[in-house]
Structures are given as structure tokens and as C-alpha cells.
Symmetry: C2
Subunit: 242 residues, 2 copies
């Protein structure tokens, strides 16, 4: 639960974070741990619950009928996801774990009830949705305009920042439980090209890699080179005027 607490502590104060965590755990929740490859949400169904990622990674992806796969985003520890479920709509994408993962399943009806009773909670969840939207827009820019090298650098920098937020302190090493194919499906490239571009980036001293962990050698340079704007994820506190 620490990852989630760290996450929301970015935008609400500590007592509020505590209250949110408390409200959430007192609801009709179930903590589950699944192995890698477990499908949490299947496209076309109505999952009627939302998830809090506590540990491990998951992906939201879309499969095309000819087998192409686009990963839409990663779910990292601390992420709250499928707030869309509040509309009781069919999922248009699937979500599956990438690693062994521990997460909280929260029933939608109970969650809605809690929202209605504690209106100030709503602002925090609204914020989560806004932040996710922001990441989606950034991903569109990434895939629409950036070169292979820019895309990879840009993604690594985003992951670094998000993992720092979950951990509650800056990290510089990004442990990536991803195959080249996963990266490729995220970035709209092929695994072969991911491999080649990563090699070139290592050769140029931008990153290092060992045991599936990426170390960002020179963050400022990588950011400049990747068109990464370090401020785009809003980590300011919410000011819901009351």
C-alpha cells in the first residue's frame, strides 16, 4: 500500500492521503497476487471494479485482428486504474500483468458509494484520471512525432519519474521487466529496431543496461535529446476551492 500512499501524497497532504487509503481498504476490496500474464481486464467485457496496483507491472493493450498489438500504457505500482469502470462501460482494451503483481480489486458500486459520501475524495480520483489523460496525450506525441531514439529516451524518462513517485524518492535506475517486443509494441517499432537503437544509445553513453535494469547516464542530455519536458506530469497539489 506504500506505493499508492506515496503516489497520492504527491497531490494531497499526508492526513488526506491516509484517509483515502483508509477509505479504500475499508471498502469491498480484495488483495490479489497473480503471476505474469494474468488478464485483469478483457476487452469487450464490463469489469465492474477498479484496481490499485501495489506491486509489479501491468499493461493496457489493444489487439488488432491481424495480431498487431499496441500497448497503450503501463500500470506501475501506486497506479489506480480503470476509473472508467465508474461508467459501467465495456472495456475497449485489455489489461494484463507483465510480472508477478499484487493489486487491490475494488468493487465499483462500493467505490461509487464512498465517492458520494466523501466528496473531497472525488477530487483526488479526478486528479488521477487527469494525470492518466496527460500521459496518454504525451504518448500520442511520442509515437506520432518522435524518432526511434527519441521515443525510447522519452519513455525511459517517464518511467523513471513514475517509479520515483511510487517509491517516494528519486531513482535513477529503471528496472524494466520488459522484453524488446513489449517495448516495440509500446512505441510502435519492431523488436529488432529497438535492439539496434538501444545498442546505439549505449554506445553513445546515454544509458547503460545490465540485468534488465536501465541506468540513465546523463539525464539532462537524454531529456534534451528526447524532447522530454520534465514538468509535463502535474505534480502540483490540487487546489479544489471549497
Amino acid at each position: 500500500m506504500d506505493t499508492f500512499r506515496n503516489r497520492i501524497a504527491q497531490y494531497v497532504d499526508a492526513p488526506m492521503a491516509e484517509r483515502i487509503v483508509k477509505t479504500l481498504t475499508e471498502l469491498d476490496t480484495e488483495e490479489r497476487t497473480d503471476g505474469p500474464g494474468a488478464e485483469l481486464v478483457r476487452a469487450g467485457t464490463r469489469p465492474n471494479r477498479l484496481f490499485v496496483m501495489l506491486d509489479g507491472w501491468a499493461v493496457r493493450y489493444r489487439l488488432l485482428c491481424d495480431g498487431r498489438r499496441q500497448i497503450v500504457n503501463f500500470m506501475l505500482p501506486g497506479d489506480l486504474f480503470d476509473l472508467q469502470v465508474l461508467g459501467d462501460l465495456e472495456a475497449d482494451h485489455s489489461v494484463a500483468t507483465l510480472t508477478q503483481a499484487t493489486f487491490l480489486c475494488v468493487g465499483a458500486t462500493g467505490f461509487l458509494q464512498a465517492l458520494r459520501e466523501a466528496g473531497d475524495l472525488a477530487s483526488a480520483f479526478w486528479w488521477a484520471a487527469v494525470q492518466e489523460e496527460s500521459m496518454l496525450r504525451e504518448h500520442i506525441v511520442r509515437v506520432g512525432q518522435l524518432s526511434a531514439r527519441e521515443r525510447i529516451g522519452h519513455l525511459f524518462l517517464e518511467l523513471r519519474r513514475r517509479l520515483s513517485a511510487a517509491r517516494g524518492g528519486a531513482v535513477n535506475d529503471v528496472g524494466l521487466p520488459l522484453t524488446r517486443t513489449d517495448l516495440a509494441d509500446m512505441l510502435g517499432l519492431t523488436p529488432v529496431h529497438i535492439s539496434r537503437t538501444l545498442s546505439a544509445m549505449k554506445r553513445d553513453g546515454l544509458i547503460e543496461e545490465n540485468h534488465r535494469t536501465i541506468a540513465i547516464t546523463d539525464r539532462a542530455r537524454l531529456a534534451r535529446l528526447s524532447q522530454f519536458d520534465d514538468s509535463y506530469l502535474h505534480v502540483r497539489r490540487l487546489v479544489f476551492t471549497d
Copy 2:
């Protein structure tokens, strides 16, 4: 205001739609008409109001420092946008009109007040946010996986459906107030390639074009060919259990 009423009538019943429209107009709103190229939201500022597009087109876009532009999405008549403003955050993208456009500006504080007083309104606005997110995800798939021809077809089909929703009835002709460059910046391609691909699509009898209006000749074929899933925008009614 009809376009907006038609839009939300997709997911709430008529009296509710009427109430939402009434609440909105009674707020601290201003109806404005701007020429093409007017900047409604500037990246980096805090706009502290939201907009209802009544007529005309606008784009949300991001400029990179070397001049590249990625259009993130189009705002069509009936669209409510910048709900993110409720968090009082800096905009990470700009919004500008593409044509002459009429829109409603709603002050954020008044809107928040209304939300708090009429809780059932919230569900409708939540729905709008969910729908926008859904379109963003679909755009990621489009730009990440589809070929030039697929991207164009896919976008046209989405625009057709959205324009139909605003009009309150199916249309088959999509009036596009877009230059090749706009399309290119939306789809991550170059204007030259847009032009060539459009020509090929006309040659193949997929679309026709005259006076900036696209007619979709064979919708089923275009949908199949573009990997367009006609059901992805959730037009079901909200079932917020109360």
C-alpha cells in the same frame, strides 16, 4: 447549443440533458465567436475555465521546440473540453480554433460549485472525460500501429461518427476544414504523403472528395480496411446506480 444537447443526449435522457444545458447556461458563462487560428488555451498557462464547442472546429496540439507539431485531438461541435481545468493545473498542450468557431466559456469555480450542488451532473461530465480518454487511446493505436491508409480511413470514420452525434443523426459526408498539413500533424505523416494516399484511396473507390468534403463511399469496406471498430466509442447510457 443543439450540438451539445445532441451530444449528451447519447447518454442521458432528454429531461436530464435539458437540466444539464440549463445549469450550464445559468452559470458564469460567456458565448464567444472567434475567427480561425484563435488560441483558446496556451500551453503552460492555467486557463481556469472550460469550453463547450457549439460550432466550428478546434485542435489540441503540442509544439516541439524544433517546430514539429502533434495534434492530439479535434474538438468538434458539442464537445466539452478542458475538464482537466478542474484541477487548476497548467495546460500541457495548446488549443486553437481551426475555423471560425462559437463556444461557451465556463468559469471553473462556478462550474465546480454547480457540480457540488447537483451531484448527478457529475456523472455526465465524468462520462465526457471517459469518452475523451477512449478517443485518446484509440488515437494511440492509430498512430502506433496503422499504415498511412489505415490511419486516414480510421480517422475519417471516427470523425463521421462524432459529427453524426453532434448533428443528432447519421451523416455520411464529412466536411473537413483541414489542410493536408493538419491531417499530417494529426496522423504523424507528412502532407505530401497524405495527398498521395488520399489520391490512391479515391482511385480505389474508398472515398470521394469535393470542396473539402469527404464522402465515404463504402463504409463497411473502409472500416474493415482501417481496423476501425465501430463500437469503441461508448454510446450506451450511463447507469450510475443511485
